[in-house]
């Protein structure tokens, strides 16, 4: 009975994960602030964190909910501009304190747009939803370009974009956001609400027959996806320092989608790893920059041919199951005979 094999009791598993993640943050932060890694590379690491959030959040809508939205950059840019506009109006001394709130505001506004766009979009299926969300991403971009003319004062600064945004995005805050995102999405998905989202992907008619409010859960998946994309956008604004609508076009949405598809739709670890690799590679091989989309497309074609479900399928890795296996192995070596009984006993409880 594979479902009962958990050796470490559940709440303890979270504590172990939290401790390990905390240690990772502490060590990495120490390495970066002591200057062992150059500023450039620490920037790349932050960027990786931002793309991890983007990929993991898009995975909620594609991998878990089973839709194909093509406007993820739209939610990202809403978060980015919201956070940037707030940060630019904050007094220079208090940017550090204000940043988390600016991020949250960006996430919430993106989530609100997720709700607005989600309710009509989710009545559509497949291709139609893809086209509608694609249109949404472009509309947001055009609005950002032209809204100043309508408002009569400078808010987004049109095509020139926002400049001199306080560069408040650090390794620490990025990866705290990564940790929160992964934790929240993980705990959401491993609950009755997450299972409801999955059931829609699997079979909508059966889900309704089980009494699951499919409209609510589709919208929820969409809003969660948009919210975290907004957070990532805010981090991106604080990382790059300048924003222009042209950076958030259709290709950005595709870039994020490629990460999710490559990692395996519905696999969180897949999204994390492919976001890491696909962000790090082009940065580390700067000279290949112009071939980036070619390489992306090639990788995608190859993966689709040889492993259509993505590199990780829907497999989800957990540190604890690794620990479980190690413990079992260790116990097994010492008292081989008792091993099976122990598992059985665990199962009975």
């Amino acid at each position: 009975m594979s479902i009962n094999k958990k050796i470490i009791p559940m709440p303890l598993r979270y504590i172990i994960n939290a401790v390990l993640f905390g240690a990772f943050l502490y060590i990495m932060n120490h390495i970066i602030s002591s200057g062992i890694i150059s500023k450039y590379y620490s920037g790349v690491i932050s960027l990786i964190g931002i793309y991890i959030i983007l990929a993991v959040s898009l995975n909620v809508a594609t991998g878990y909910l089973g839709q194909l939205p093509l406007g993820h950059a739209g939610f990202m840019v809403i978060g980015a501009y919201t956070s940037a506009i707030i940060m630019k109006s904050v007094a220079a001394g208090s940017t550090g304190v204000a940043f988390p709130f600016a991020l949250l505001a960006g996430g919430i506004l993106a989530g609100v747009f997720g709700l607005i766009i989600g309710i009509p979009a989710l009545r559509l299926r497949g291709d139609y939803l893809a086209i509608l969300t694609l249109g949404f991403g472009e509309i947001i971009r055009v609005i950002l370009l032209n809204i100043d003319n309508v408002l009569g004062f400078t808010l987004t600064n049109g095509a020139a974009g926002l400049q001199k945004i306080p560069k408040t995005t650090t390794f620490l805050i990025t990866f705290i956001c990564v940790g929160i995102t992964i934790f929240a999405i993980h705990t959401l998905m491993k609950s009755r609400h997450g299972r409801a989202i999955l059931s829609i992907r699997e079979n909508e008619i059966a889900a309704e027959a089980c009494g699951i409010n499919t409209t609510y859960y589709k919208t929820l998946g969409f809003v969660v996806s948009a919210f975290f994309a907004g957070i990532a956008g805010g981090l991106f604004a604080g990382y790059i320092g300048i924003l222009s609508p042209s950076d958030f076009g259709f290709m950005k949405s595709i870039e994020i989608l490629v990460m999710v598809v490559l990692g395996g739709m519905g696999s969180m670890i897949g999204s994390v790893l492919s976001a890491t690799v696909l962000t790090a590679l082009p940065e580390l091989l700067r000279s290949f920059e112009r071939y980036r989309m070619v390489v992306y497309s090639l990788i995608l074609v190859i993966v689709m041919i040889f492993k259509p479900s993505g590199l990780f399928g829907t497999y989800d890795f957990s540190l604890n199951s690794l620990l479980d296996k190690l413990i079992l192995l260790f116990k097994g070596k010492r008292k081989n005979g008792q091993k099976n009984n122990e598992i059985k006993e665990g199962a009975e409880k």
């Binding site: 594979s2 609950s191 299972r195 409801a196 999955l198 699997e202 309704e208 089980c210 699951i212």
Partner: protein, 284 residues
Amino acid sequence: MSKPKREPVKLVPVPSVNIIPERDVDKTPILEVSHLGIDFGGLTAVDDFNMAIGRTEIAGLIGPNGAGKTTVFNLLTKVYHPTRGTIMLDGRDTGGMNTIQVNKMGIARTFQNIRLFKDLTVLDNVLIGLHNEMDYHLGGAILRFPAYWKAERIAKQRALELLSIFDMQDMAGNLAGSLPYGAQRRLEIVRALGTNPALLLLDEPAAGMNPSETSELMENIQKIRDTFQIAIMLIEHDMNLVMGICEGICVLNYGKVIAKGTAEEIQDNPKVIEAYLGKKKEEN
């Protein structure tokens, strides 16, 4: 819209002999359908369908291919909205309700062409059925409040209990799509039971099963009725099953009820024989 919360039943079978559908007579039937009909464009798929089912009755719905049996189920569960007629569930009109509301009121079903959550585990399939039996909210799930742990523990135990009806608890960790055909059909029944129904609709539960599986299924359907004290309505082409366990049978042909009654009454009805075997000149 929600039905009064019924206590989940303990899985101790009550002997079959104690349940006589006639005892239901003094109560309102769980389901009362009158003059139900639906047109698809020019085609009248179901017309003037009337039926009442007692609270612990096992009822059968039979008829040749294309007679409109599945359409009746789709009408009862609001996959389609009827063109004519009323459906009363537990004395309440279900007009204007949707599939979800009707399920919460107590109708659960299985599908003729199996609709499992294939890429999820057997346990997850049943837990999705138990979705509305758990009540912790979104924040409680994300922040892992004690309510989450408690509800999940109870639900998991309940799911394994329900799986044990068909002795499937050992498959809980397998992917639903990897199960053999018969087991998939049984899992659909378990998932439906998870929603704590008052009326269970089974669309060809024995399709694709071998005779020994079918006779086991017959016993289990009766066991389910006895344990949960619910009404069951089933569509089936296997006449041994229908005649063996259904207390009332309704025969459909071309969307119309052509006969109603007990197994004995149905078996000798010339209209039924004609519908199945055909008259000399007509096709079936």
